[in-house]
Amino acid sequence: MSYEFNITGDSENGNEAEPISLDEAEEVKDIVALIGNFVRDKSSEGQLVNGEELLEEPLSVEVEDIIPTIEELRLREDFSDIIMYKGKEKIYLYSEKFITPNYANIMITAEEKDFFKMIVDTVRQESRIYPRPTSVNLFRKAPFNMSKDEFFKVYNQLKRKEEYEDIKEVKASNDAIYLYSDEFMKKAHARSIAEWIEVESEQNP
């Protein structure tokens, strides 16, 4: 029995894909599963997969097949944990079974060296949800992995940018520097929480 179907069919846009045979489709499906499992394996080790890696051994996907294959992967229910994220230059894949969207977002911005976004997104998020100010030391840890110099170089530029003017600084009494977003926290609040984290929590174990 001959069976034909359309993988990427986007006929509304006149972007019709070539019909392929069942044999070819199964091969594609195998690759889809291979990619899905590859992404899961890497995610379980805390790593993202970027589109370029699919070109390499062992997957060796052809350049023109990358997008269609990923599209197929996203339609597969058994791989509904696989998330695709279009970065500035690359496509990233990860399994949300092992990596949360927030963590993936930080990894991607770090990978793309979009340090303003990485810092600002983190500070705003922490001020908004916990709420708490963010220690500048956080950015030296994984997945940020910035050196002290790197951080302060970026931070000094960031301070001069109008679009980030909600990002403010407070110091605890031990001089530890914390950042907060004044969209979500008042200065006195941010300062008092920084003091709690740095000094008071140890006195109230």
Binding site: G46, F98, T100, Y103, A142, M185, A188, S192, E200, S201
Partner: protein
Amino acid sequence: MAKVTGWIGNLLRVNLTTGNITVEDSMKYKDLVGGAGLGYKVIFDEVPQGTKAFDEANKVVIAVGPLTGTAAPCSGRTNITSLAPTNPYHAITDSHMGGNFGPWMKFAGYDAIIIEGAAKSPVWVRIEDDKVSIEDAGSLWGKGTVDTTKAINDIMGKEACIAAIGQAGEKQRNLASIVNSVNHSAGGHGGILGAKNLKAIGIIGKRAVHLADENAKEWLKLNEYMMSDIIGANNQHVVPNTPQPWAEYHNPGSRWTAQLGLFWGAANPPVETGECPPGDKNKVGLRTQKAIFDLGPVAEERTIKMAGCYSCPIRCQSNMYMPELEKYGLTPYATSTCINYSSPGTAMVKGYADGESKGMDAMITKCLGSRLADDYGIWSNYGQLPRDFRHMYNSGKLKEVLPKEEYDSINFDLLEKGDPGWMLEYYNNLIGDGEFSHLLDGPYWMAQRWSMGDEYWNEYSNNIWSKMAYPKHHSNEAGAQVGVLVNIMFNRDANSHTHMNFIGAGLPIGLLKEIAGEVWGSPDALDAPKDYTPMNEYKAKFAKWSIDRNFLHDSITLCNWVWPMVVSPSKSRNYRGDTALESKFFSLATGIETSEEELDYMAERICTLHRAATIKQMATIDMRNEHDTIPEWVFNVDPDMEPFTEGTVKLDRDDMQLALTMLYKEYGWDEKTGAPTRATYEKLGLKDVADELEGLNLLP
């Protein structure tokens, strides 16, 4: 008679005056669960009003509950109840120790041991199943807890568990502890054993603690579920303290320190904690690398392992390899749970020689101090002892009150230089016979002796809860009015972590508020840290629940540094915990099907009995004004800020009086005085308590 399960059914009574040793039925206390509940009833019934802690008439009740000695997670703690020498009224308190003593007591065949009377000369009590004897301790008197433990282990075998006092207890210092297994200490009752000439109790037994029939499989299932889905790290912190791929949230204050590349570095071979996401029960014990939490990154390579109390998967006790201690005549090891490291650190009032608060000098100092405190059996009074020293030294008052010769004989140079050797000087002088040793009297008596003024009582950083003179313990900084209400209830620092574990769990405030709404009726039960709102009835419910669960845990017994399970680390449960777990374990162990509500009701009974015992000893029903007092600094902190503004923990006087009224109402106590009414006692099955208090004119 139906087979008793969970409990053993026996209570051992040792009278040191007469030498009589008897065994009684412990099941008459079953409605009070065990542990603290049992202890309160014994003290209420048997210790005359007005007795002082070191009087022969005082008794010491070492008691555990139906979960002790089972495999329920974190069930290895032991409760000790007696009058407290630190308390201005010598009112009733509990001290709590981890380790093995409680389970060993069950294995020997007892739910509780009552020590009464006083021996004429030093003795120790030897318990091997039903063979119980009072032994001469002449050769042990004067020794520290380490040598005492070793000497008794040499007699009874190394499997025996020994609870001993050190020199602080022998000398009847108020701040003395009872220490089992060398470093699991219970604070505040050591001097009472000293007054009774009781140096130690050695215990070993061969019995099993039975679960109710047919329940073993259910028990295993429950255990599996709790270990996989519900339990977090120490203090039931449910998020890691660094960002990790699997974790939606993290919190820098979390005790869940496990992460990739973090080791028990002195293990052979070193053990990597790795990431320990929920779902894998075998990783729970790796989550809390407490040594680096307490001592900083320098501790990683010195950590041999994390250990802990019997049947505890959390393992919050760091075991350290510290060869530097040999210089001070000690073996090269140190261990600590709780604040055993931080208390010596506070006594270094001039910092450390290397200038680092978490450097090598700090680690050596803290390990050395922790060893000395445990060996001498000194209780830090939840860190108040070194704060008192700091206040005395920095204010110059120490120089005033110490005789010149004594002051000059103390090598304060070591302190000024930040030399770890200060620990030897400090602890040796505390345990000596000079004026300096009166720091061990505790705040109330010390302040009387040395005429301490308002600056001592009212300074926020001094942490003193006036006028009851214990330190604050997760009070106004922990849930606003909720923390304060928890702190007024006890006769020592509130050892209740229920509210703080929830507040500090590490989850976003929105999620915590949602959960608070489900458990206590409204999200308004919880304020965001340092962003407080006026009192409401849900906060009163949260406070009562926190207090009651603490009484429950000290009675059943479970570790309140982990329990209860209000939240969990499981994303699939949307971080909900399971507050019915205690009742499920209780039902399976005892065979008495008990709902969460029914068990909470028993806890309320225990709390009300504690209140009754306090009223009896204080000889007043005016709890609001005489007992439930709130220190000035709660209302004076941050002078430039108003209560209920973002960034302060300052509270309002009238609002706190309203909070007291609301709490009394929740308990069904008289709203004017805060004393339970006859109707409430009777409703809780405490008619005999009401009758006795009526005879003393102590009913509202």
